[in-house]
Symmetry: C2
Subunit: 82 residues, 2 copies
């Protein structure tokens, strides 16, 4: 398992409720790909959302995000953290 940060663009104006609903949609199915979404942060002004996850692969992260209706624009493995 590795850590991943994925990025969604174009989410200008996202609300707290919308972020929660999107996150809940991921959580509902993440186990099917052995992904754990740990945290998400959103900037409504520039429309960027960052998600931190632990997963077997970037592809697994993307499959969950796609099925939940919000494919990521970038997914980075982040093997280093402090």
């Amino acid at each position: 398992m590795s850590k991943f940060i994925d990025v969604h663009h174009g989410m200008v104006g996202i609300t707290a409720d919308q972020l929660q609903q999107a996150h809940d949609a991921d959580l509902a199915i993440q186990g099917e790909e052995r992904v754990t979404f740990e945290h998400a942060w959103a900037d409504p002004d520039t429309g960027v959302v960052y998600c931190l996850s632990e997963a077997p692969s970037a592809e697994a992260v993307q499959r969950i995000h796609e099925r939940a209706g919000h494919p990521a624009d970038e997914i980075h493995a982040v093997p280093l953290d402090v």
Copy 2:
């Protein structure tokens, strides 16, 4: 105080030691701007580093990063998180 995620590009090949040293350089002076760097994640393959902080402003985050020798390429306020 608000949460911020800042992004550094061009860090291809960054090592765990280099990430730790960069983070330590921020921590050493962050109090002068009332910034708290909470976490940093790095992708050595694509050279992206993400930093999560709590700070009075994006400018305060940038001043610390600049003085520590690694100005951020993007800084996003992330008022929403789950």
